[in-house]
Amino acid sequence: MEITLNNPKPFKSKREKPYWLFTLFASTFLIAAPVLFILSHLFMPFSDSWAHLFDTVLSDYIFNSIALMLGVGIGTLMLGVGAAWLTAMCEFPGRKFFAWAFLLPLAMPAYIIAYTYTGILDFAGPVQSTLREVFNWAYGDYYFPNVRSLGGAICMLTLVLYPYVYMLVRLALSEQSTAILEASRILGKTSWQSLFSVALPMARPAIVAGITLALMETLADYGTVEFFGVSTFTTGIFRTWYGLGDLQTAAQLCSFLLLFVFFLIILEKKSRNKLRFHQNKSVKKLSKINLTKGRAATAVFFAGSLVAVGFFIPAIQLLFWTLDYWKNVWDADFINLLFNSFFLAATSASVCALMAIFLAYSKREFKNKAAHTSAGIAGIGYAVPGTVIAIGVLIPAAWLDNHLDYLSTLYLDMPIGLLFSGSMVILVFAYLVRFLSISLNTMDSGLSAIKPGLDESARSLGASKKNVLTKIHIPILKTSVLTAFLLVFVEVMKELPTTLILRPFNFNTLAVKTYELASDERLLDAALPALCIVMISLIPILFVSKSIVIDKAKHE
C-alpha cells in the first residue's frame, strides 16, 4: 500500500532561516576579529623590546594614563554634574540656551581644542603678547603655565568630554520623580540637602555611565597627548611601531590598553547592576529652584564661562586664523583632501548604516539568545580605542596581503600587490568596527517603535508583506537611518589615530592634515582644516533633535 503525503508546505517558521543566521554570526565574528586578535597577543611571547620598555617608558605610560583618567574623571564629574543640575533643576536667565550650548563642545575634537589653546596661550600667542605689552615684561620676567603638559591635557580633554556626563545626568535628573524630592523635603531636608542625599545618589548610574564614556574617549585620545608630549599607551603604541618597528610589541601594548578599557566597562556595569532603580514616573513637572539675583548671576557666569572656554573662544579663534591664513593651505591638494574626507566618511557611514539595519532586524527576527549576543558583540567597538582597532586590523590584513601576493605571483605569475592594507577597504572596515555601535543604537531605538504587533495588525488589515515594508517600516525608519548615517559621518571626520595608521600612502583627510600641520608647528595654517571639522561636527548638534544626541551618548 502506498501512502501519499499530500500535506501543504508547512508555514515557514521564524527560526528556520539558516542563511540569515549564518550571515549574522559570520559578520559578528568579522567585526569582533580585530579585538580578539589583539587580545590573543596577551598570550604570545614577549620580545626583548619589553625589557627595554619596562626599564624606560612603561611606567610613564601607566602613570600618565592613570593620571589623565583621574583628572578627566574628576573634571568631567564636576563640570558635567554642575551643568546638568543648573539646567535641569534651577531657573535662571538663559537656562534654555545653556541647556543646548553645553552640548557644543561635542563638535570640538580634543586635539583641535588642544592645538587652538596652544596657539592662544603660547609665548607668541595673543594672551602672552598682550600681557607683555601691558606690563612691559620681557621673556623670562613672568611665570605662565605651560599648556603643553599633563595638566593641560587634562584640562583640554575635560573641556570637550564633560558633555557626556552632562547629557546623561541631565536626562536622569529631569526624569526623577517629583514625589521623591518632596518626600525628602517633608522629612526635614532642605532642597540643597535633598540634592546631595537624594537627587545625586539616584542619578549615580547616569553619572558613572557618563564618566565611563569620557574616560574611554580619554584612553582613545592620541592627538592631544602626542602634541603635548604626554606619554600614554596610545603614543607608546605609535612609538613602538613607527620607532622600533615592532608590531608584535605594539599589539601587546594594545592588549594592555584593552585591559584598562575592560576594567572600566566592568566597573560601570557593576555600579549599574546594584542600582537598577525602578522609579514610578510622576507626571508632575519638577518645579525648578528660582535663583535669586546674586545666585542667578553666578549661574550665568559659570555657564557662560564654561561654554565660552569649551567652545566659543577656540571656535572664534579658529575662524580668525582661518580668515588670515587660509591661503597658505588652500590649493588643489586641499580640495582633493576635502573630497577624500567626504568620500571616506560617506562610504563608512553608509556601510555602518547598512550593517546596523541588518543587525537590528536580526535582533528583531530571532528571539534566541545567540542572535542577541551576537548583535551585542558587534557593538563592542565603541569602547575600543581607534589605535587598538587599527593595529588589530592592520596585522592580519598585512599577513593576508603578503600571502595572496605570494600565491598569485607563484601560480599566476601576476603580483597583485597589497590588496587590503594599502587601500581604503581596511580603513572603512576599521571605522565599521569602531563606530557600528553608534548607528546600531540609533537603528535599535528606531526599530523599537515598530512593535511586532504592528506588522501583524497591518497584515490582518490586508497589507501585503511589501506594503508593510513600504507603508510602515520605511517611513518610520527613515529618520533613524539618516541619523545613523550622520552621526557616523561626523565621527569618521573627526577620527585621527585610526586614519593615521591605516590610510593608504599619500592619502590625506582633514583630520590628518590638521594633525600634520600642527606637528610642523604650523598651528595657524591648521586652522582651516580644523574649522572644517568643527563645522561638519556641528551639524548633528544643530539640526538633529537633541534626543538623538542623547541616544548617541547612551550607546553601550
Binding site: I186, K189, S197
Partner: protein, 347 residues
Amino acid sequence: MSDQLVIKDVTVKFDNVTAIKNICFSLEKGEIGCLLGPSGCGKTTLLRAISGFEPIQAGLISLDNEEISTTSFLKPPEKRKVGMVFQDFALFPHLNVEANVEFGLANLSPKTKIKKIKEMLSLVGLEKISKRYPHELSGGQQQRVALARALAPEPSIILLDEPFSNLDTELRSQLAFEVRDLLKKRQVTALLVTHDQDEAFAISDKIVLLNDGKIEQLDTPYQIYHKPNSLFAADFIGKGTIINVGIDATGLLANNLGSLSLNSLPSDMGNSVKLLVRPDDIAFEESSETKLKIVSKSFLGPNYLYDLALEDGQTVPCLTHSHIDVDVGDDLPVKFDLRHVVIFNAN
C-alpha cells in the same frame, strides 16, 4: 481637646484658576480626617497646601496653634512637623528599608536612631526585611515602609495621598484597616486624600466631601451616607438613583412609592420632589401587588442588581438575593422600604 490642624478660609489659585475656595475645617488630636471627592475637586491641592508645597492666596493654616501658611508667610516643608505618605510611596530607591526610615531622623543621637528605627519597623512588621531595597519589596510592603518612614520623626500630623490606590483591591481593604488601627493606637492625627468612598468609610472619623474646590459636606461617614445634604453628596456617595417624583398634600408619593410623613419634609416642598433611592430601599417581596418591569440586571455573586422601570419610565435600582433570578422584560414584585428618606427640592 483642642484642634491640632486648623484650615481657615483657605483659597489656592493657579494662574487665576481657583483650585480650592474658602475651605474651612479642623482636626482634633488623634482624629482621622478624609478629603473625599472626584478627581479634580482640589483635594490633592489642599494636601499640598498643608504640606507646604503650595502657597495659599487667602486664609490660614495652623498646626499645633502655630500658623504655618498665611497669605504672606509659607513655612518651608522641611520645617513643618508634617509627615506624608505619597501616592506612589516615593521610597528612596538608593536606600534600603532601614535607611529610608532613618532618613527623617537626622537630629537624633545614633542610639536613639537605632531604637526608633527598630520600633517603627516592628510597628509595621518589617523587621525581617530591613536590609532590602525598595524594588525588592511587594506593593504592600512598600506601603508599610512609607508609613513607617513618615511616622518615624513623630510628626504632628500625617498626610496620606491616595495611599492605597497603587495596591490590589484585596490588599487595599486589608491595609486600610491595618493603617487605621495603627494610627489610632498611636493617637496620630491624620488626613487622607482619596476618591474611593469605601476607603474613606473604612478609615476615617470625619469626611470632608469636596466638589469643584468647595466643601460640599463635612460629617461623619455614617451621616454622609445616610444624610447627604446635597444632590452632589447623594449622587457621589453610595449607589443609588435620584428620581423626580410627584407628592400630594398628604405626603403620598406618585408611582405607588408609598407615603412620607409630612413633618419629615421641608415646608416649601411643592408638589414634586427629588428622591434618592438606594438599591436596598426596594426589596423583593413575592406577595407584593406592586410589580415593576425589569429593564436590565447584573449578577454580583451573592446578589442581583436589577434596574426596574416605574410607571413614568424612570428607573430605580433593586438589590435581591442571587437566587431570585427573573428574566429581563418580566415583572418583579417589590415592596418600597424607604427608611432613610433623602429628598431634595425639585428645583
